[in-house]
Point group: none
């Protein structure tokens, strides 16, 4: 069965708010076996909303609409949904009493407008709202089902899980359960990855494969449809093995985990401790490492050595070296890492120095040039990178490359391809 | 003139990514005088994308599509856009040379797939991409205009501003101009702010007012519609004065600027330099300060003193103090700030120590307790906070409060309400 999500609210069309509901609902629908074909966002505009709901219901087995159930004049979803579904609105005394109770408990006056939320389509299924005053509802329109929920994310989520999911299960959307698995890679570009996996992309329809790229790397998403979750998982497992076989060194994690979580786990397992010396990344590596609860077990300290004085003062980088090679150089990166490790007494240290831009670049040292060094007890090694993107992108790529260097070190993988 | 935004990518329909591009584009189109009527999100599915672009172009003067311009097989926007607009794709040697150059500069191999991005519709307007390899384009389809941009937000934004905005100006959309202004506040909760501005919320329809909250603070957005940009700006200015009058100390900025940008400007104006000593924020303050280009003018260095040893070793916090008061204490925060300033030779230093959770809290020192100290040449002052939220939320609130302390210091405002 296919589905469409309709997001209602002029704030999204003005760019005043970012819609996060549709992504959340999309995950829930996919897990319930629905094929979400599109998301439409419309404003608080009666005629347009009517058109969108009508055309959406004509083309989809299921339409989930959120927003526009509030008590104010511009909240018209209840009225329009009743109209397109051919149900009349009825005033439910039990809902009205619940709304009055809600305000009484909070010592706030219950206005007449608030009681307008006690109107609901006759013959529909009520979707109770335990956190607010706007109930949702589900109505049948021909062969299609229209689910209407409020736009407040916390309310919508509870209502979806408690009432909509059980309702959808009853529909038995044709058995197809959709499961996804994401292989997170770094150090390969989208096109290198495409080259490596091209035949799978082209031949595998189920599971299907898609890639998304951000400065931290490229994610390969496999999506399987099957009559059962178990079967779908087996399909993902089988194709996943092939993908992993093609990318022996570049997959660092599955699904949501960031590289900082994995690196933390590896350091802990190997009883290693870490310190950081950051110039161009300015604290980003330390922040990511300390995002992880319990990181004090392995992360000892970080130096943000933004000025040359700080490099010399805190990490004993020689003034002559800074002069002869420049702050952005392989030698300075190595010196930062080695002295950071020595001063901290940590097993490992990583250091970055580079040109994040937008200014400060030259022909020999262009914006995006970054040196990343890793020191352990016996030596320090340095790698030169040329990152693309704006200041933020370059900094994010550099921090990710430093974490990747740590991952490869901990796993005894080649440090560079 | 009306407009629709089309977001392309299966990741959005699976709920794997949240689309932020459409909100950003919507703001730009509103500012240019377009009436954005809806946003549609479709997957990487050739036939559906074709249908959506066709029906969208039939109903709108302007369609802005993002995503699906990458080098991989599932990137089909270029091909489909050419088809629905009736233009054929041509291989442009100049673009191909640019793409090769992009890779050469970064010492990376340019694959055949990358050169597929040199195909662009004949007769269209090219939208150059200065940050990546995927150019965009604009084509006329009947009386409508189709703008196609890549989905990578940093690339898309620069391209929109540099090439699309000037193109749209030429179209003279002639409708009501929509202008917005955002007053950024910190240190007040959403409900405190609501209470302060309640009457304006309820009475002002044009400009209208809306608030959005995140861990860094609450934004108050005013949106005005008028026949001219000038008139809309005047309306915003007038209501803005009233808002500012009610919030004399809490508004730190306008529109997109983060607090780190403002603090940087203030430090520079006052010829002050800064260093940071971070325990619970783990580098987040340093990272935000160095997000700003040119921050090396005033930011000297940062210490991430996560372990007690680092606090003693690097910043001479006395072991007896750590024992008697604990690492999370007003005294340790003050000592961190004062010694950070002294060691660095900076005019100012801020320090944080606290419990970000989820573990590590106790009855006397609960999760969310954070001490923030500010030292200048004559003294150091410390403030205790109890932040709510999860680990990330607490860290973000603490970093924002530290920057806010610097702002108030630079402006000689009361450091605490």
């Amino acid at each position: 069965m296919n589905a469409e999500i309709v997001v209602i609210g002029t704030e999204f069309l003005l760019g005043a708010s970012v819609d996060t509901n549709s992504a959340w609902i999309a995950r829930g629908l996919a897990a319930a076996g629905f094929d979400v074909q599109s998301v439409r966002t419309v404003g608080d505009h009666e005629k347009r909303l009517e058109e969108v709901l009508q055309s959406s219901l004509a083309r989809h087995d299921l339409v989930v609409a959120t927003g526009g159930l509030g008590p104010t004049v511009d909240d018209m979803t209840r009225r329009v949904a009743a109209k397109v579904s051919g149900h009349s609105l009825v005033y439910r005394e039990d809902l009205a009493r619940g709304i009055e109770e809600f305000f009484r408990k909070r010592n706030r006056p219950c206005l007449k407008a608030n009681l307008s939320q006690a109107f609901t389509p006759q013959g529909g299924v009520l979707v109770p709202n335990s956190l607010g005053t706007a109930p949702g509802f589900i109505v049948k329109v021909g062969k299609s089902h229209l689910v209407v929920l409020p736009g407040v994310p916390s309310e919508m989520r509870v209502m979806f899980e408690n009432t909509v999911v059980p309702y959808l299960k009853e529909l038995r959307p044709g058995g197809a359960v959709v499961r996804s698995r994401v292989y997170r890679t770094t150090g390969m570009t989208e096109s290198q990855l495409n080259e490596t996996l091209r035949d799978i992309f082209e031949s595998s329809k189920n599971p299907s494969m898609a890639v998304t790229a951000d400065p931290e790397g490229v994610d390969v998403r496999l999506t399987a449809r099957s009559e059962s979750g178990e079967k779908a998982d087996q399909m993902l497992e089988a194709l996943g093995k092939t993908v992993l076989g093609r990318l022996p060194n570049h997959v660092y994690g599955l699904n949501e985990d960031g590289l900082e979580t994995l690196v933390g786990r590896l350091l802990k397992m190997r009883h290693l401790t870490l310190s950081t010396a950051e110039s161009c990344t300015g604290g980003l590596i330390a922040r990511r490492l300390t995002d992880v609860p319990g990181s004090s077990d392995y992360f000892l300290r970080g130096y943000v050595v933004y000025s040359n004085e700080a490099k010399t003062d805190l990490l004993q980088v020689e003034g002559t070296l800074l002069k002869s090679r420049g702050a952005v150089s392989a030698e300075v990166a190595k010196s930062l890492a080695a002295n950071c490790r020595k001063n901290s007494g940590s097993s490992l240290a990583v250091a970055t120095t580079g040109i994040a831009g937008p200014g400060g670049g030259s022909d020999t040292k262009p914006v995006g040039q970054v040196f990343i060094a890793l020191a352990d007890e016996s030596s320090s090694q340095v790698f030169e990178h040329r990152f693309s993107g704006d200041r933020e992108g370059i900094r994010r790529r550099a921090a990710q490359a430093a974490l990747e260097l740590l991952r490869r070190y901990c796993l005894s993988l080649p440090l560079k391809d």
